[in-house]
Symmetry: C2
Subunit: 325 residues, 2 copies
DNA sequence: AAATATATGTCAACCGGTTAATATAAAATA
DNA sequence: TATTTTATATTAACCGGTTGACATATATTT
C-alpha cells in the first residue's frame, strides 16, 4: 500500500496535523518534532499526494503549454526554456502539441482546464478560440494575437522583416520574394510581411508574397516551393518566414541549379539553437528565445498572482550572418 | 465561481449522482435525462474537476516524461511522437527536461510521483537511480539501461555501429575514429562503439574512440573536436555517436581545411526529422523514432494494465545516405 | 394482475491531504 | 507565583468528484 500522512504520523508518534504542519512549515514546531517527522518520512519513503493537496488548495502548481509541436527547432527550444524557468518557479508542465489542428487545440484546452492548471502559455498557430476567454484562467500568448485581455509576447517582427528585406536589397538582389502563412490566421508574424512590403515599395520594387502554410507536410511544401521557382524564375533573393522552410528553399534551389548566394540570396527567420548547429550557413533573423521565455513566464506568474501586466511585449531581434546572402 | 457538479444537477433538475452517471456513462439512463444533463453542462460551460476524480479513482491519466531536453532533434521528435500517441490513448503528458543533471532528474521523479502519474517514460542520460525502483510505478526506458524489471526500448545500436563502420571502410577510409559519451554511464548506445571496435579489429584496423560528453556545451564540445583533429591528423573517416555532434565535426573539419567526403568521411547517428530537413547531406544511421515511440507507449500501457512485457525490445535501424561519405 | 426490467433519487462514505477551533501542558517570562 | 508564549493533540469540516446501498416509481413483459 502507498504510504500516507497517517502512516507518517503513527511512525513519528505525532498527529496527522503535526505532520501537515511540518510539511507546510506552519504553526509552532520544535526542532525535535520536525526531526521525528522527517525521520519517519524518510524511513517510510513518504511522498505526499499532490492531488489531495491540489483539491483542497485549489492550486495545482501546474502550467499548461500548447504549441504546434516540439519537433521543431524554434518551438523545441522555446518549450525547453519555458519548462526550465517554470520548474525553477515551482511549476510543473503539462504539454500539448496541437499540430496546427484547431480541434486538437480545443481538446487540449479543455483537458488542461479540467486538470486545473494554474495558467497557460500558448503559441499554437490557430485562430483565437473563444474558450481561452471563457476559461477565466491566466493565459500568456507567444507570437499570437489572442483577444483583448490576453498578454502577448512577440519578437520585433516588423523590425525583423525590415532588416531581412534591407539586407537582401543592400546585397544587390533585385527580385525579392517573401513567404508567409495564411493571411486569415491572425498572428504577429504577418508584420514581417508588412515590413517586407513597405521596404520593397520604398525602394520601388514589387513585393510578391508566396503562401507556404505552416501545417503542410514536407512534400506539399516542397511542391509549393518548386511551383514558386517555376512561377518566378527571375527571383534572386527571398525572405522566408522560418528557418525550416528556408532550408527547404535552399535545397530546392540547389537542386534546380541555383548557386546560393550568387544566384539566390536567402534570409530565414527564427535562428534557434539547433539551426545554428545544423545549418549555421543560413543567414537569418534571430528571435531572442530565452528572453521571450523569460518574459512569458514572469508575465504568467504575475497574472497568476492577480496583478496586471502589459498587453504586448516586443523583444528585439538581430541578424545572424551566415553565407546565404 | 467555478461551476461544479451540483450546479449542473440543479440546473438539469436531477441529482448529483445522475450527473455523475451521465459523465461516466454508468447505470440506467434515459435519453431524455442524458440530454437534460448535457444541456445543463453546456449552458453552464461545465468542465469536471479532474483533480477530484483523480483523488477518488487513484488514477490520473497522466504520464511523466523525463528526457534530457526537448531542444534536440532526436528527443524533440521522440517526445512529440510519445505525446501524440499518449494523447490518443487518453493520457496527458507531464514533462521534465533533466538537462543531464542527476539531481534534477531525481527532483522530477519525486514531483511526478507526488503528482500521481500513472506511468513514466524515461530517456534521461544519467545513471540508474534507485528511486525508479522504489517508485513502484510502471516505467519504460528508452535507450537506457535501468534495472532488472524496467523494460527498455532501443534501436539496434550494435547493428547501427556495424553499418556505420563498414560503410566507412567500404568507401575507402583507412583511419577511422569514433566518438562516444562517458563509458561509466550505462547506456545501450555504447553498443555502437562495441560494434565499431569489433568491425575495426576484424579489418585489422586500430579503433580509437574519443570522448565527447553529451552534457558539454557547444564551446567545450568544439574545443574537444579541435583537439581530436590535432591529435589524429591522419583521420579520414569518423563515426560520430549523434547527428548534432556530427554536424559540429563537419563544420570544424571544413574550418580546418578538410573536404568532406574527399578528405574526411562522416557518419552520424539518429537521423531525426529536423536533421533531414536542415542537414540532409549528413550520412547517418536512422533510428526509427516513430516505431520506438509506438512501442514505448504500448509497452507502458500494457504495464499500467498490470500485464507483463518483454524486458528488451530492439528496433532495426537503417542508413540515410547523404553526401558525407 | 403480477413479475421483471428500467430509470432516477437520497444518503453517506471515501479519496488524502489542509486547516480552523479548541484544549492542554510545558517552558519562558514578568 | 502568575502570566504569557510555545508546542502539540484531537476533532471535524472541507475540496469536488465517485460509488455502493437502498428506496421508489414507471414501463414492459408474461
Amino acid at each position: 500500500m502507498v504510504v500516507k500522512i497517517d502512516d507518517v504520523a503513527r511512525v513519528a508518534g505525532v498527529s496527522k496535523t503535526t505532520v501537515s504542519r511540518v510539511l507546510n512549515n506552519r504553526g509552532y514546531l520544535s526542532e525535535k518534532t520536525i526531526k521525528k517527522v522527517h525521520d519517519a518520512m524518510e524511513s517510510l519513503n513518504y511522498q505526499p499526494n499532490a492531488v489531495a493537496r491540489q483539491l483542497y488548495k485549489k492550486e495545482t502548481k501546474l502550467v499548461g503549454l500548447i504549441f504546434p509541436t516540439v519537433d521543431n527547432p524554434f518551438f523545441g527550444q522555446l518549450v525547453a526554456e519555458l519548462e526550465k524557468r517554470l520548474f525553477d518557479s515551482g511549476f510543473k508542465v503539462l504539454i500539448g502539441n496541437s499540430m496546427n489542428d484547431p480541434a486538437k487545440e480545443e481538446m487540449y484546452l479543455k483537458e488542461l482546464i479540467s486538470n486545473q492548471v494554474d495558467g497557460l502559455i500558448v503559441g499554437a498557430q490557430n485562430r483565437g478560440i473563444d474558450e481561452y476567454h471563457k476559461a477565466n484562467l491566466p493565459v500568456v500568448a507567444i507570437d499570437r494575437v489572442m483577444n483583448e485581455d490576453i498578454p502577448v509576447i512577440a519578437s520585433d517582427n516588423y523590425m525583423g522583416g525590415k532588416l531581412a528585406t534591407e539586407l537582401l536589397i543592400n546585397s544587390g538582389a533585385k527580385h525579392i520574394m517573401n513567404t508567409d502563412g495564411p493571411i486569415n490566421l491572425e498572428t504577429p508574424a504577418h508584420r514581417r510581411r508588412d515590413a517586407y512590403e513597405e521596404v520593397m515599395k520604398s525602394h520601388n520594387m514589387v513585393p510578391h508574397t508566396y503562401l507556404v502554410d505552416f501545417s503542410w507536410d514536407i512534400k506539399k511544401k516542397k511542391q509549393a516551393v518548386k511551383e514558386m521557382f517555376a512561377k518566378y524564375p527571375e527571383m534572386d533573393g527571398i525572405f522566408v518566414t522560418n528557418d525550416m522552410d528556408a532550408a527547404l528553399v535552399w535545397r530546392t534551389a540547389t537542386e534546380l541549379g541555383y548557386k546560393v548566394p550568387d544566384d539566390l540570396k536567402i534570409v530565414g527567420y527564427d535562428g534557434a539553437n539547433i539551426t545554428r548547429v545544423l545549418l549555421p550557413e543560413l543567414t537569418t533573423i534571430e528571435q531572442p528565445v530565452e528572453e521571450m521565455a523569460k518574459m512569458a513566464v514572469s508575465t504568467l506568474i504575475t497574472r497568476i498572482n492577480g496583478e496586471d501586466t502589459p498587453l504586448e511585449q516586443i523583444v528585439p531581434v538581430k541578424i545572424w550572418h551566415g553565407t546565404s546572402v
